[in-house]
Symmetry: C3
Subunit: 442 residues, 3 copies
């Protein structure tokens, strides 16, 4: 059960770096034995960045003079602002106040805040709690403790590589840096794991698949820097996030798909897979803001990697608050996301450019047992229509033009029907893969 897995991962103390990420990956490894934890040492140059200090914390609280813990990160991990420097000090309210973060218009929710790359510390709390403290007056004295370490260590990411017939690669990535937020992004973390599990069981894969669980931004940058030889093999990719909430799918197209004014193959694969499942996704163009598609889609990489979510970041009220908890995500929505992603992968695996071996006129399907013998009906059944479309859109020569996704798009027929028709026509020698696709290693 994916929800159970998310529940197990929920309390772990994830951040950009540190033991919470390692513990999370360790849990995933139980299901994915081939998962490798990569550790990249603090200070390593990665593209324009350097791997940051590692951060871990043991305790974090605010107590009153009587020692009563008023805010305690053991009670809820979001109370501690991520990457806070250690502190142990008595402070009056005015000084403490400047380190506190709340959401005044959602007074019962703890916000999620981080202090990456800043030399500061802070607590996040319910605005209601903040007001209680404020009522104690300016002179109230508090004891503040953040028992944390921030210093040399490593950035950790997990990776599962599933080799295929070709080293052409599909990259699937989920950010793993958020503590105690369920939809953003335990949903993406567990959906990626479930898809990897399913694919791992397959006997044959056309593509090599790489599943990456890494912290946002600097994690993706580190992966890109550490995988220079892999990057040129990436053909398709998806960033997974926010996949457990009750919303429908939103798909943010890849940068090349957006900027070339022609959707990339992965964008089109998502399109037909969701269409065939009866989904009506909200398809949006690439923007250089969001999740790690920003890095994969930076101008120098321009990789065809889209972002596959349900309700996008910032568009649900629970986003980046303590209300993004395990009640926000459901088993059914998580499983449905897995199923649709497997559909997308099935489309990518089967997609290809065909060449017609009988390009002039329709081949006589009847003679080959491929056609109903009794004529005159106005509506030919789906399978026959799929054959006619596949034959008609096959190239007359070696020039690639329409792939099977294009046939499914234009015909309006399910991709599965087109794939079956293509298989049948290949079997009967009426179409064949373009030579250029046959010489590729799959």
């Amino acid at each position: 059960m994916l929800h159970d897995l998310a529940a197990r991962l929920f309390p772990l103390r994830r951040s950009l770096t540190g033991n919470g990420v390692r513990a999370t990956l360790a849990v995933l490894t139980e299901r994915l034995p081939s998962l490798v934890q990569h550790e990249v040492t603090t200070g390593t140059p990665v593209l324009d960045w350097t791997v940051p200090d590692e951060w871990n914390w043991r305790a974090a609280w605010i107590a009153d003079e009587q020692g009563r813990r008023l805010v305690d990160a053991d009670v809820h991990g979001l109370h501690l602002m991520g990457y806070s420097v250690p502190v142990r000090r008595r402070m009056a309210w005015p000084a403490l106040k400047s380190h506190l973060h709340t959401i005044p218009d959602q007074p019962d929710r703890i916000p999620y805040r981080t202090a990456y790359y800043a030399d500061t510390w802070g607590f996040c709390l319910r605005h209601r709690t903040f007001l209680d403290l404020d009522r104690r007056g300016e002179d109230a004295i508090y004891e503040v403790c953040i028992d944390a370490t921030r210093g040399p260590g490593a950035l950790t990411y997990g990776e599962v590589v599933l080799p295929g017939a070709s080293d052409e690669t599909v990259l699937i990535s989920a950010h793993v840096c958020h503590p105690m937020l369920a939809n953003d992004n335990l949903s993406g973390v567990v959906v990626a794991a479930a898809v990897a599990e399913q694919l791992a069981k397959r006997g044959a894969r056309r593509y090599t698949y790489r599943f990456v669980w890494a912290p946002g931004t600097v994690g993706a940058i580190t992966w890109l820097a550490e995988n220079e030889e892999v990057v040129p093999t990436i053909r398709h990719g998806l960033i997974l996030a926010n996949l457990g909430d009750a919303g429908g799918f939103t798909y943010k197209q890849s940068r090349p798909g957006t900027f070339n004014d022609a959707p990339a193959e992965v964008d089109r694969a998502v399109g037909v897979a969701l269409r065939d499942a009866g989904e009506r996704p909200d398809v949006r163009p690439f923007t250089p803001y969001g999740y790690d598609e920003r890095q994969y889609g930076s101008t120098g990489f321009d990789l065809p990697i889209g972002c596959f979510t349900r309700t996008p970041y910032g568009e649900y009220p629970e986003y980046h608050t303590s209300a993004d908890d395990l009640t926000l995500i459901s088993e059914a929505q998580l499983q449905d996301a897995v199923a649709r992603l497997v559909d997308v992968i099935d489309v990518l695996e089967a997609n290809r450019h065909l060449r017609a071996r009988v390009p002039h006129g329709e081949p006589q399907l009847g003679r080959r047992g491929l056609y109903r013998a009794l004529g005159g009906h106005p509506n030919a059944p789906t399978q026959q229509m799929a054959m006619l479309w596949t034959l008609n859109m096959a190239a007359p020569d070696e020039t690639a033009r329409f792939d099977l996704i294009a046939v499914a798009e234009r015909s309006g027929l399910p991709f599965a029907a087109i794939r079956e028709a293509a298989d049948l026509l290949e079997e009967h020698g009426l179409v064949e893969r373009l030579r250029s696709e046959r010489t590729r290693r799959f």
Copy 2:
């Protein structure tokens, strides 16, 4: 009168092959003396197919034990399933039933069915008749007679060639294989004949025109196989069908016009011709299903041939039933289709790319008597606007860019006005045909 012609052709026993087609072409030859009947022998390889056996029938009926004819193809030709093998036999109801075809939800109509390329026989009847027979019980015995021959012979098609200044060819084709169905496709057969008659009377034609009356699918395939040297000269073409019913025009674009995301010249000619006639056709993209555009638009040929109809096949309730009779088609609709097709041909004949001989600034039309001398009016009349548009969209050099259809499309002015403006401007030496078009043989 075209309706009279259709009425004469109606009872003839047309099928893929046989004497009904020959008789039909013989009637057309009365109006088109240059019509040639081509006979292609059974077994001739034609592309991926072979010419089928010829089929003719003399009688076909079902009688009861008293010899009363309950179903008789002499009463309505559709009763006999096309290409039925001969049979003469006494049968009980259960055995006979499996050879009968009806339309249960249109109980008073005889369906049209064929058994091309299948070794079977059948009768088509009103469902009401079927129920009457059924009520006679399982034990009733019937005598069945199909006095038909199916064997070596020929496939027949008719062709009229009207030579033009150029051997660049316009192909106009109508399928001639349907028995006793008026809209599908005696309407196309007689409209093609009427257009051919009109064009034959013209003193000068830019293009060579080929009018083809052939059985559907295998007829088109045979024509393509037998005319290998003609195919490369085809510049434009139209398939004609369903042109007599009360509906408006539907135009199915040619394959290149659809798949190149830029309508072909014939598609654009149909567009402006119908627009200028005040028609608002239902324009649809190419699909590899329908009439013989499937063959001309197979991937290896990819010819710019559209399909020009009123209500498309399968979209009127009388389609492929005995209700597609002479009452479904009207003289006015047939004649109007002829007129619009002649308009399309007029556009194709006049369309060309022009080069501006005075490309810098507007030429001074006034000095040449081409402009009203009195200025200041906000709305210049059509003819002047047509001159300005034609001049402005003429190429500054030998690079073809906009043809006259494009000028008519963009300006919103009638093609006839643009053509007149172009003629006038050519006369005054302000534009000339592109050299590339002048060296073509017309």
Copy 3:
């Protein structure tokens, strides 16, 4: 005050040629000392045309037999049809009538008519006056006087050249041939002057600006003929007209912007400048009718010059009548047009193609003080988004792809924010101009 300037220019006797144009330019020279009056002699060949005769008039009236002046061009300059040949003669009503022009359905307005290139004369009058005269009967005798000269002289146009760092040129042009019509086109004349004044005060200009006040059609043709060496340097241009009325902006795209199916840079600059000012202009495609964009946009020149107006010619009821007077135009609308044109120029001046110097992954903005250190907020402020968009859309190599206008368009952010982001990123060495743009002379 621009309206005061228009009021001063209003009574001057402008036409295609003559002293009224000279007097108009002389008034503009008071504000624009660098304005040069060019005189091109009658008979000079200019493209396909020749410079026409010069026309000046001293008096023009129709009197009755008692010497009472019934129509007098001293009372309203529109009474005299432009370019009328001299006449002094007594005439009966039927003969006179054929020389009179009125607007029957706007009986209180004098129409504007000209007789360019025609050997005739005429008067324009209120239809009400015409009916008064008509009531005097067919036998009434009138004295007609047009004291005018039409003969060798010159065509006059004014030009202000503001040199820039580059000789790449922006052309701004307004037709100056209309007498006593305020919106068409004193509005364009004074707006062009005000924009020129503002630009003249700037210390640095990237582009060279040429402001041209010339008579319509033959004036533009003369300018083009006389400036053969300038034409190839024109990068952008705008025709100004009808800018004082109460309407919103209408922008007619340049010919290349329309015919290439991709707006030209000037078209896009107008688009973002007006968008950012909260305007929703009516954007229309190029047509070969209208103002001098017809000449600049003739097929041989095909210059990227749009037409910037409020209500277009012919679309307001006062157009080309005596009701197009100083009450139709307002200071506020004129000044607002000036402001928007300066916005457009600001966009053109700042627009450029950038190359990313850190193309792989996002550069670490935080380290450079360009990013808020505190993460987790869903909506980054405009300036940060502008940086991310500018970085992402910068070219990874020397291949120009998106300019800053494209970044503003796609991001939806104000051009000013994108320009500031680009400046900041250039300062920090994160982007640089494409080499091809650096070697251009600005």
